[in-house]
């Protein structure tokens, strides 16, 4: 492959990541970038870091060496925020807040995402998993192809969210249709039409959550939205309806395309590496190892979507990142850095066997959930969904096979699928 030639003049890694070759397989380019231009300055002036150690440090130093954009700076870092609903919503999500506001808002929702709360959700998740697999079984057993992405990988997190938010399932399916468009619009290099499509979808989500908040205010139930509405009403000066809507919008965006992507990649790993399936047939420790390795090999959000602004000139690997520069981290490249994970392109759950979740046996952090104060709120929820799904898929459909090649979404930012058609392999063939 003449990666070298193509990349020697790489002026913009973000544009390269959007190329068809990278949509298909971004890892050769990421490797080149990490080896040749690990502190990359894109044409737009954004910096993009691709070494594990640098990424880990930046994530950990967020709030210290790096900060989020101040409210008065939005026009500078998001020139289109004044006219874009999606960007203005993004600007008020938890991911863009700084302490002490960040701390206060995060703690309002943390209680529903504690390890114990998520463990309490296990039976619900297991029930949804079993029901979705049951629903797929007749067509598969008739020898037909089924789109596992739509019927399972996307459906599971959507149904779990409906449960958490106290929303009717049909409403959730309705909202979910626009999530992909919104996520694309948030990419730093989204085109104007992409942003317009994102804004149309965001307007629907915004209106829906506005109504939902009113409904939960008059008829509170045991769900996250009711709880947040209650917190809001006790504390009206500091958590506005707009902030509440942004928080729900942020959870919706962060939660599900990413979880679906990991389920899809996990199933692809099961099919591509049958010799590794034994991890899913034994105890929970083996399942955890498999899940962590899936998360490492294919980070669903390939780079950070929120700006981290350098608080001062920062020298990294011989490059000076000037004060006020917007720094992004290429998580997916860090997860495949041989300095952190030996033989990084090999799918090897043994790296995470018996370790603390998210840490390899060499003590290196798997970066897909981030690190630092913005560490993924839903990390454990995603892990439990994966852990409850994979062994059941394996047990229920041991002869599962690809019906045709999966179709990827043409996204530079999210490594997601449009379709993952599967079928059962003929027995004794």
């Amino acid at each position: 492959m003449d990666v070298q030639e193509t990349m020697a003049a790489c002026r913009d890694a973000f544009a390269e990541l959007a190329s068809p070759a990278c949509i298909n397989d971004p890892y050769p380019f990421m490797r080149w970038l990490r080896e040749h231009d690990p502190v990359h300055r894109a044409a737009s002036g954004l910096f993009l870091l691709s070494r594990h150690a640098d990424i880990y440090w930046v994530l950990k130093a967020t709030g210290d060496a790096f900060r989020g954009p101040a409210p008065g700076e939005l026009a500078r870092y998001f020139p289109r925020a004044a006219t874009s609903l999606s960007l203005s919503l993004l600007a008020s999500t938890l991911a863009m807040k700084e302490p002490p506001t960040h701390t206060r808002l995060r703690r309002l929702i943390s209680r529903d995402f504690t390890v114990r709360e998520i463990d309490n959700l296990r039976p619900t998740i297991a029930r949804i998993v079993a029901a979705r697999l049951d629903a797929m079984a007749p067509a598969l057993e008739r020898g037909e192809a089924v789109d596992l992405h739509r019927e399972f990988a996307l459906a599971l997190p959507m149904l779990v969210f409906a449960e958490l938010f106290g929303m009717p399932q049909d409403d959730m399916f309705g909202l979910a249709a626009g999530i992909g468009a919104i996520l694309e619009g948030l990419s730093p290099h989204a085109s104007d039409p992409q942003l317009a499509a994102a804004d149309a979808a965001s307007a629907k989500v915004h209106a829906y959550f506005g109504d939902l908040i009113q409904r939960k205010r008059t008829d509170p139930r045991h769900d996250i939205v009711s709880m947040l509405v209650g917190a809001h009403d006790d504390d009206a000066d500091t958590l506005s309806d707009a902030e509440l809507i942004s928080m729900l919008w942020g959870m919706l965006l962060g939660g599900f395309a990413t979880t679906a992507s990991s389920i899809d990649h996990a199933v692809l790993a099961m099919l591509a590496f049958p010799e590794q399936r034994h991890w899913l047939q034994g105890d929970a420790v083996g399942v955890k190892a498999f899940v962590e390795e899936v998360l490492r090999c294919d980070a669903p959000a390939m780079f950070s979507s929120i700006p981290r602004i350098a608080q001062r000139d920062i020298e990294l690997g011989g490059v000076v990142i000037p004060k006020n520069a917007d720094v992004r981290v290429l998580i997916a490249a860090g997860n495949r850095d041989p300095d952190a994970f030996a033989d990084p392109d090999r799918f090897d759950p043994a790296r995470f066997y018996g370790t603390s979740p998210g840490m390899s046996s060499d003590g290196k952090i798997m970066l897909s959930f981030g690190h630092g104060i913005h560490f993924c709120l839903g990390a454990q929820l995603a892990r439990v969904q994966l852990a409850e799904s994979l062994p059941r898929i394996q047990a229920r459909f041991p002869t599962l096979a690809l019906a045709e090649q999966p179709t990827r979404e043409p996204s530079a930012f999210l490594r997601t699928f449009r379709a993952l058609p599967v079928r059962l392999q003929a027995q004794g063939g």
Partner: protein, 102 residues
């Protein structure tokens, strides 16, 4: 060994409760981490150091004491040693020479 969770700093990720469920837990009302044991047995010292190193916001402070035997884990320490530890931790965040494991 003395272990302190800086509850102002805690990012409520639950990572410590996942890593060492018998040692750390998350508070009911807000998910903030706390210790659930009064003393850290010798056998867990290495695991606690690892959990502290993995905390995404470095909110777990391990104070190695020479006394060894009287190992009190306190959630409400005098402020000064905490501040000292935290500043020491910040000084180590040094771009260039950093290491993934810190």
């Amino acid at each position: 060994m003395r272990v302190v969770v800086d509850q102002d700093l805690c990012g409520t990720t639950g990572q410590c409760a996942l890593t060492l469920p018998g040692t750390f837990r998350q508070r009911e009302p807000d998910g903030v981490a706390e210790l659930c044991v009064a003393t850290i047995p010798q056998a867990l010292h290495a695991a606690v150091r690892l959990a502290a190193s993995q905390c995404p916001v470095a909110a777990i402070l391990v104070i190695e004491s020479d006394a060894g035997d009287e190992e009190l884990a306190s959630a409400d320490p005098a402020p000064s040693p905490v501040e000292v530890e935290r500043h020491a931790a910040k000084d180590q965040r040094n771009p260039g020479g950093h290491d993934g494991t810190v």
